[in-house]
């Protein structure tokens, strides 16, 4: 099967999956108790029945459920994700506002963890049984087992408050009004702590997987063939062992990539990072249906998209795969 067939097949399926997800999201949210009108009225402190009715009529919540569903689906078909009455802005604008910050954070975490994890795992495998291997294995076990928020808080205390190496919270220095390169550097400086914290868990996972996979491949027949050709250990290890050992890591990286949008709620909260995670959390508390649905949908679309991308990468990485669609 050629690439074009594969891609078109996967895209068609992806759209079907997204439709199903959109439906499911809609009903899931309605299943939770409370609605935006109640929250608003509660905050206003005057929850008489008339005000509730008014609010519901304004949000379109007085319509029959199926009508609401129809309006929702029709909007999504034209990429109109609805309007947040709470924030008085279209949902798409809200999401697009926050998306870059989240992608920056999770993307940085992704790259750091993948790079670091693969290198550490490969190193540990080459030195299997020696002290450097024990050190890497122990470290990855610790990071694998420690809760994320605890690492986040402790690293804030140590690196920011005690040592003053990096900023404590936030996306950039407020009021500094940097531009261009200076701003980029400032944001980068703020990015260090949250991205490393967020990436630690996956770093540990990649390192462990890469190590195990390297050791397994090292026993393969073709590695013996490579050595019999007179290749140096470094080339055997890189070109033959690592190249094959990385395949299962690619699968795992695909899983992590799917979480790029939705997986950083905790980190964003602890580090006051103005991303999608925070937007979603706030919307949840406020029962802001349209924003919640929008965030859910965008996250799902990212998961589906990255799954297709992972399969594509896998096809390139492993010529044996004729990825069945």
């Amino acid at each position: 099967m050629n690439l074009l067939q594969f891609l078109s097949g996967r895209l068609v399926k992806g759209v079907l999956v997204l439709f199903a997800i959109a439906l499911l999201n809609f009903f899931l949210i309605r299943a939770a108790p409370g609605d935006p009108a109640q929250v608003l009225a509660g905050e206003a402190g005057a929850a008489d029945a008339q005000l509730l009715e008014q609010l519901r009529a304004r949000f379109g919540l007085d319509q029959p459920l199926l009508t609401q569903l129809w309006i929702y689906l029709k909007g999504y078909a034209t990429l109109d994700l609805g309007f947040s009455y709470r924030q008085q802005r279209p949902v798409l604008d809200l999401v697009l506002d926050r998306l870059p910050a989240t992608l920056l954070l999770t993307g940085a975490a992704f790259i750091v963890s993948l790079g670091l994890g693969v290198v550490m795992g490969a190193l540990a495998a080459r030195r299997a049984g020696r002290w450097s291997d024990s050190l890497i294995t122990t470290l990855s076990l610790v990071f694998y087992a420690t809760p994320l928020f605890w690492i986040a808080l402790m690293s804030q205390i140590l690196f920011s408050l005690k040592l003053g190496l990096v900023p404590n919270v936030g996306f950039e220095t407020i009021g500094a009004n940097y531009t261009g390169l200076a701003r980029a550097l400032d944001i980068g400086h703020h990015l260090i702590l949250p991205s490393i914290t967020l990436g630690l868990f996956f770093t540990a996972l990649y390192a462990r997987m890469m190590r195990a996979s390297m050791l397994e491949v090292a026993g393969a027949d073709f590695v013996k063939t490579a050595r019999a050709k007179g290749l140096s250990p470094a080339i055997v290890s890189r070109r033959h062992v690592a190249r094959n050992a990385i395949l299962p890591v690619v699968t795992l990286a695909g899983l992590q990539a799917g979480q790029l949008v939705g997986g950083a709620v905790l980190t964003e909260t602890v580090f006051a990072w103005p991303g999608i995670g925070r937007l979603m959390f706030d919307a949840l508390v406020q029962r802001d249906y349209s924003v919640l649905l929008g965030v859910f949908f965008i996250s799902s679309a990212m998961v589906v998209g990255f799954n297709i991308l992972t399969d594509l990468v896998y096809r390139l990485a492993d010529p044996r795969i004729e990825a069945a669609s």
Binding site: D221, F222, A228, K229, G230, R239, R243, N244, P319, S325
Partner: protein
């Protein structure tokens, strides 16, 4: 065979001793072995599994497992002792002065690298040739080993090649730098007979053309007879006999060599008593099985593993289902038990239509047809005692555990093991003993029909001979009908009353063993018989 003069040997191994780790079942993998190979000569090291023959090859290559250490002696390549070289110097010897081919063509090539890059790397490793020359040389090599369309094949990945083609690539790679010595470690064991014959011929031609010395490791005396100039026989790490091919094969001196040679099954079928005419116990009519590879777009790829297969099997009779890999013989064997669901056709067990039974009825009646599997290591559950493995079947059919265990003890004695084996676990037994357990397990349900799927293929010749004798004895005693699935024509000649030859899912020829071997009718049968290694020497 090459004419070998008294030239300076390419390789001489002197009193080599390799130490095994302290807890191994013997102290030395190889003890006090001395061998030498002259330029252009093929030396075969023959031995059964565990004899240490592969260890010698790996020691010469400097690729011994970490746990095995050279303890004494010397390995001299053109006068230079390889054991005294450091890793960097050894690295330069590998590939440039010694090339090596391995047993498993399916796993010996890197699956994610193009063929040409894998050959290319050999030049690169030794800093030989300019880049453009390397490409040209790679193509020339692929052409020389007889691969079709080398330019296209060079760009292919290993999984796009057949086993035989991959082994040719391995040969091209091993010979890329024109080494003085080629080590071939069971290079044709994993191949079909017809492919094996081609590869052996290729190796012999290349050796003559380039004057390469060949160290050939094998367990198969048929192959030895085809290719060896001289033979060294290894038993338990000790060299028991060494001589020219003629001397060793026609006039073996050592008892062990004699026993090994006697165990090689002859291609001439022995006289077998006629089968008493009776109603068939198993009859298969128009059996069909198609494997489909589904795809989202376009047509599905279909492989007909069984295409209109029909045969019958009488009480006390052995029918051999013979063919190369992919011929569908194993599929047919498994379909008879409905371990694989056939797509069409009728399977009759006596008067019972097995192919029409529902799930629960099938469970009840399946005990009448049982299977012996190929791999004695994988087919027994390692966490169950032998007694449990054998008695589970009868217990599932309502016998009490106590009675079933008592019966298991009898069966173990029947297959030549002691009754106290019931309390032991499979890993405590050798491959041959496990296969005996597998036979006892199959017999526990008192079947009418046994399906033996390559039941002796994983065993050494001497063990193979014992198991074949055992199967024959049990058949005579119990009057079993046996469907014997095998790729090995020698084995088939010895045990089968009738043979059905399969090619691409079809039975192309069927007949009494003696008649079929004496005068094969179908072209494919003729090709198969011609390809059996050592046919001329081990005919009788």
């Amino acid at each position: 065979m090459a004419d070998v003069s008294k030239a300076e040997p390419v390789l001489s191994i002197e009193n080599l001793t390799l130490a095994l780790p302290p807890l191994a079942d013997r102290a030395h993998a190889v003890e006090n072995v001395s061998l030498s190979i002259a330029p252009g000569e093929t030396l075969c090291i023959v031995g059964e599994s565990g004899s240490g023959k592969s260890m010698i090859a790996h020691a010469v290559m400097g690729l011994l497992p970490k746990a095995v250490k050279p303890k004494g002696g010397a390995i001299k390549l053109a006068g230079r002792d390889l054991l005294s070289l450091d890793e960097a110097a050894m690295q330069d010897v590998r590939g440039r002065e010694i090339g090596m081919i391995f047993q498993e063509p399916m796993t010996s090539l890197n699956p994610v690298m193009r063929i040409e890059d894998q050959i290319f790397e050999t030049f690169e490793a030794h800093g030989l040739l300019a880049k453009s020359e390397r490409r040209a040389r790679t193509l020339a090599l692929l052409t020389e080993v007889g691969l079709p369309d080398p330019a296209r094949l060079a760009k292919a990945y290993p999984h796009e090649l057949s086993g035989g083609q991959r082994q040719r690539v391995m040969i091209a790679m091993a010979l890329a730098l024109e080494p003085k010595l080629l080590i071939a470690d069971e290079p044709t064991t994993a191949l079909d007979v017809t492919t094996q014959a081609q590869i052996l011929k290729l190796l012999d031609n290349l050796r003559q053309k380039h004057g390469t010395a060949v160290l050939f490791i094998t367990h198969d005396f048929g192959v030895v007879a085809e290719i060896a100039d001289r033979i060294a026989v290894l038993q338990q790490g000790k060299l028991v006999e060494q001589g020219t091919a003629d001397q060793v094969l026609s006039n073996p001196q050592h008892d062990y060599t004699k026993r090994l040679l006697a165990a090689v099954p002859s291609l001439i079928p022995p006289q077998r008593p006629a089968i008493v005419e009776s109603k068939p116990v198993l009859s298969v009519t128009d059996l069909g099985k198609v494997y489909r590879k589904r795809s989202f777009f376009g047509a599905a790829r279909e492989v007909k593993a069984a295409d209109n297969v029909s045969f019958t099997l009488a009480k006390g009779e052995t029918l051999g289902l013979v063919g190369e890999s992919g011929s569908g013989k194993s599929t047919v064997g498994r379909c008879c038990l409905r371990l694989i669901e056939p797509d069409g056709g009728r399977i009759m067990l006596g008067d019972l239509v097995l192919s029409d039974l529902g799930k629960s009825a099938l469970r009840q009646h399946r005990k009448r047809i049982q299977m012996i599997f190929q791999d004695p290591f994988a087919s027994l559950n390692p966490r169950q005692t032998v007694g449990r493995i054998i008695s589970d079947g009868p217990v599932a059919h309502g016998t009490s555990r106590k009675d079933a265990l008592a019966r298991a003890k009898e069966l173990l004695e029947l297959v030549g093991l002691s009754a106290n084996a019931v309390d032991r676990y499979p890993h405590e037994f050798s491959g041959g003993q496990r296969q005996r357990v597998g036979i006892a397990r199959a017999l526990a349900l008192e079947p009418d029909v046994l399906v033996a799927d390559e039941a002796v293929s994983a065993l050494d010749v001497s063990v193979q001979a014992q198991i074949l004798t055992l199967i024959k004895e049990i058949q005579q005693r119990l009057g079993l009908a046996i469907l014997f699935v095998t790729h090995d024509l020698r084995v088939a000649a010895q045990i089968c009353d009738r043979i059905a030859v399969m090619q691409r899912g079809r039975i192309v020829e069927t007949g009494p063993t003696a008649a079929l071997f004496a005068a094969p009718q179908h072209a494919y049968t003729q090709a198969l018989l011609a390809a059996v290694p050592g046919g001329a020497r081990f005919g009788h």
